[in-house]
C-alpha cells in the first residue's frame, strides 16, 4: 500500500534550488531515512510534506489525495505529524497540556461548546485526557507530566515532542534529526524508541538524521540528497559503500591541492 507519493517535487528559495525533481514513495509501516550533508534540502522536503511550504513544481499525494495547497493543520489532520529539528514545544504549558493540545484538530467541538461545557465537550475532553494519559505512560513521562518542557533535559524534550506528534494518531511520522544534541546513552535509547513506536503504533516513519549510528541501525531504506538532488537510494549496507555518497560526505578523494592545478 502506498502511503505517500512524491513526484518531481521542486522548490526554490529565490535563485537557490532547495529541492530538485525529488521522487519518493513511502509504503505502509516502512522506516525510511533521509540523509545528506548540511543544506541538502532535507528539512525543506519535510516542510513541503507537512504543508508549511507550497511546492512550486511537482505533486505530493497522501493516501492518493493531493495535499498541494492545503494548510499545515489540514495536512496534519489527514495523518502526517512531525517533530522539529530545533525543539518547538509550547514552553508555558505543561507536558500534559502539550500532548493534549496537539489533539486540537480531533476535538470536534468549538467555542460555544467550550464555554457552555456541553455533554459533547465533556466527552471530547475526557477522550483527549485519556489518550494523553496513555501516551504519557507508554513513553515513560508520567513523572514529568506536570513539568514545563523547558525544564526538562534535552532527551526528554525530544521524547515529549514525539509524544505530541503521536497524540495526533498519525499514519506517517516525520522525525527531523531526533538524535541532534543527544549523548550516546540517549541515542541508544532513541534507536529502541523509534523501532518500538513503529511496531506499537503501526505507522510509517521517515526520519532525517546526521547520526550515522541511528540511520544505519534503524532505517530499512535510505535516500541520500545533495544540493536538492537524489544521489542514492537503497538499503543501509548499499548506501554505506556507495561512492557518490562517500564523495558527498567526505569530499573528493583527490587531494585538494591537486585539484587547484
Amino acid at each position: 500500500m502506498t502511503l505517500l507519493e512524491i513526484e518531481n517535487l521542486t522548490h526554490y528559495f529565490g535563485g537557490l534550488k532547495a529541492v530538485c525533481n525529488l521522487n519518493l514513495r513511502l509504503d505502509g509501516s516502512e522506516l525510511m531515512g533521509l540523509i545528506g550533508p548540511n543544506g541538502a534540502g532535507k528539512t525543506t522536503v519535510f516542510n513541503l510534506m507537512s504543508g508549511f511550504y507550497r511546492p512550486m513544481e511537482g505533486e505530493i499525494r497522501f493516501l492518493g489525495r493531493s495535499i498541494r495547497g492545503l494548510r499545515p493543520h489540514e495536512v496534519t489532520t489527514l495523518g502526517i505529524a512531525r517533530t522539529f529539528q530545533n525543539i518547538r514545544l509550547w514552553n508555558s504549558l505543561s507536558v500534559f497540556e502539550n500532548i493534549c493540545i496537539s489533539q486540537h484538530c480531533q476535538l470536534g467541538y468549538g467555542f460555544f461548546h467550550s464555554v457552555l461545557r456541553t455533554p459533547g465537550f465533556v466527552r471530547s475532553e475526557r477522550r483527549v485526557k485519556k489518550r494523553t494519559e496513555e501516551l504519557i505512560d507508554l513513553l515513560g513521562l508520567r513523572h514529568y507530566a506536570p513539568e514545563f518542557p523547558k525544564n526538562l533535559p534535552y532527551g526528554l524534550q525530544r521524547r515529549v515532542e514525539i509524544g505530541r506528534a503521536l497524540a495526533l494518531r498519525p499514519k506517517l511520522l516525520l522525525l527531523d534529526e531526533p538524535a541532534a544534541g543527544m549523548n550516546p546513552g540517549e541515542v541508544d535509547e532513541l534507536i529502541e524508541t523509534i523501532r518500538w513506536i513503529r511496531d506499537e503504533f503501526k505507522l510509517t516513519i521517515c526520519l532525517i538524521e546526521h547520526h550515522m549510528r541511528v540511520v544505519m541501525n534503524v532505517c530499512e531504506r535510505i535516500k541520500v540528497l545533495d544540493f536538492g538532488e537524489t544521489i542514492a537510494e537503497g538499503r543501509p549496507d548499499e548506501i554505506r559503500l556507495n561512492p557518490r555518497v562517500i564523495e558527498a560526505y567526505l569530499g573528493d578523494e583527490e587531494p585538494a591541492d591537486a585539484r587547484g592545478n
Binding site: C100, Q103, H104, L107, F111, S114, R117
Partner: protein, 341 residues
C-alpha cells in the same frame, strides 16, 4: 454545590451590593466607582485574552469599546425613548428592562465584527506590525464616529439617561449596577472557561510557537478570529455599559489614552492571568479616583507607574499565575478542573 460555589458567592456579593445601593447605604459616588471597576474588569480581562494569552499587542481596545458604546446607545435611544434624533420610541419604553441585554449584545456583536479588521491582518502580520494596525483601527473608529453628524459627530451622543429612567419606572432598582455586575460575571466566566479548555489552550499554544501550533493541527486562523472577536466583542459590551453609566458619550473618550489605561491594567495585573487582570482593574480604578485631585498630573503618575513596573516586575502582579496558584486554599471554592493533574 462545589461546582457552583464561585458563581453563588459572586451572586450573593452582587445582591448585597445592589441591596445596599437600593437602601441608600452605598451613595451614588461609591456606586459609580463600583460600576467603573466593573467596566474596567471587563476591558482588562478581554484585552488580556489578546495581549496575555495570545501574545499579540493590541493597543486599540478603546476603538472596539466605542463601537459597542455607540451601537448600544443608538439602539436604546431609538427603540425606547423620545429623542430629537430618532423621534418617538419604536417600542414601549417599559420593554427596555427586558431588551437592554439584547442591545448590549448587539453592541458586542458589532464590535466583534469590527474586530475582524484586526483579526484578518493578523493572519499575515504579528507583533509590532499588528500593534500598529490595532492603533489604526482605533483611529478609524474614532474618526468615523466624529464624521457621522446625525449621531452628534464630535459633539457626542446623549439620551441614555432616559433609557435607565424608563427601566427604573418599571422597577426602581439601580439597574446600571445590576447590568454591570451581570456582564462582569459573564465575561470572567466565559474567558475562564475558554482558556481552561483544550480548545482555548490552542490560543496559548499559538503564543508560545505559532508555527508548531499550526503544524500540530491547531487551526491558527480560526483561533485568532475567536480570540480577537471575543476580545473586541466584550470590549463592545463594556462600551455599552460605559455609555449608560455616563449617560453621555463622545468620540474623544475613546482615544489611545483610554486604550493605554486598559493596557496598564493588563500589564499591572500580569499577562495571562485572569485574577491579575481583575485585581489590577480594581486597584487601578481606585487609584485613579484617589489621584483625581492631581488632575492632569494623573497622566504623569500612571505612566511612571508603568515604567517602574516594567523595571522591577515586568511580569505584573500575578505574572501568568492565578490567585489559586498563590493561595491554594481558594481552590476549595472553585469547581474541580477537568482531569487536572
Amino acid at each position: 454545590m462545589r461546582n457552583y460555589g464561585s458563581i453563588l458567592s459572586y451572586a450573593t456579593l452582587c445582591a448585597l451590593a445592589v441591596a445596599a445601593a437600593k437602601l441608600g447605604i452605598l451613595n451614588a459616588y461609591i456606586q459609580l466607582i463600583l460600576m467603573y471597576i466593573g467596566i474596567n474588569i471587563i476591558l482588562s480581562v478581554s484585552l488580556n485574552l489578546v495581549n496575555g494569552y495570545m501574545g499579540e499587542f493590541s493597543v486599540g481596545h478603546a476603538g472596539f469599546m466605542a463601537v459597542g458604546a455607540y451601537v448600544t446607545s443608538i439602539l436604546n435611544v431609538w427603540l425606547f425613548t423620545e429623542s430629537p434624533v430618532f423621534g418617538p420610541p419604536l417600542l414601549s419604553p417599559f420593554s427596555a428592562v427586558f431588551l437592554f441585554p439584547a442591545t448590549l449584545l448587539a453592541g458586542g456583536v458589532a464590535a466583534a465584527v469590527v474586530g475582524l479588521l484586526v483579526a484578518v491582518p493578523s493572519f499575515k502580520t504579528r507583533g509590532d506590525y499588528l500593534a500598529i494596525i490595532t492603533l489604526a483601527v482605533n483611529y478609524i473608529v474614532k474618526s468615523s464616529i466624529e464624521n457621522i453628524q446625525p449621531i452628534g459627530g464630535a459633539r457626542g451622543f446623549m439620551g441614555m439617561r432616559n433609557v435607565i429612567g424608563s427601566m427604573q419606572a418599571v422597577l426602581n432598582l439601580p439597574w446600571n449596577l445590576i447590568w454591570v455586575f451581570i456582564c462582569v460575571g459573564a465575561t470572567v466566566w466565559i474567558i475562564q472557561r475558554l482558556v481552561n479548555s483544550t480548545y482555548g489552550k490552542g490560543i496559548i499554544a499559538l503564543r508560545d510557537d505559532e508555527i508548531a501550533a499550526e503544524i500540530m493541527g491547531v487551526n491558527t486562523r480560526r483561533m485568532k478570529i475567536v480570540a480577537f472577536m471575543l476580545s473586541s466583542g466584550l470590549a463592545g459590551v463594556a462600551g455599552g455599559l460605559f455609555a449608560h453609566v455616563l449617560g453621555y458619550i463622545n468620540p474623544g473618550t475613546f482615544t489611545i489614552m483610554k486604550s493605554t489605561e486598559v493596557l496598564v491594567m493588563v500589564y499591572l495585573g500580569g499577562m495571562g492571568s485572569l485574577s491579575g487582570s481583575v485585581l489590577s482593574a480594581i486597584a487601578l480604578t481606585i487609584a485613579l479616583e484617589v489621584f483625581r485631585p492631581l488632575q492632569l498630573v494623573k497622566w504623569v503618575v500612571l505612566p511612571l507607574l508603568l515604567i517602574l513596573l516594567m523595571i522591577f516586575r515586568p511580569e505584573g502582579i500575578m505574572g501568568h499565575r492565578e490567585l489559586t496558584d498563590v493561595f491554594p486554599k481558594l481552590r476549595s471554592w472553585l469547581p474541580p478542573k477537568e482531569g487536572r493533574i
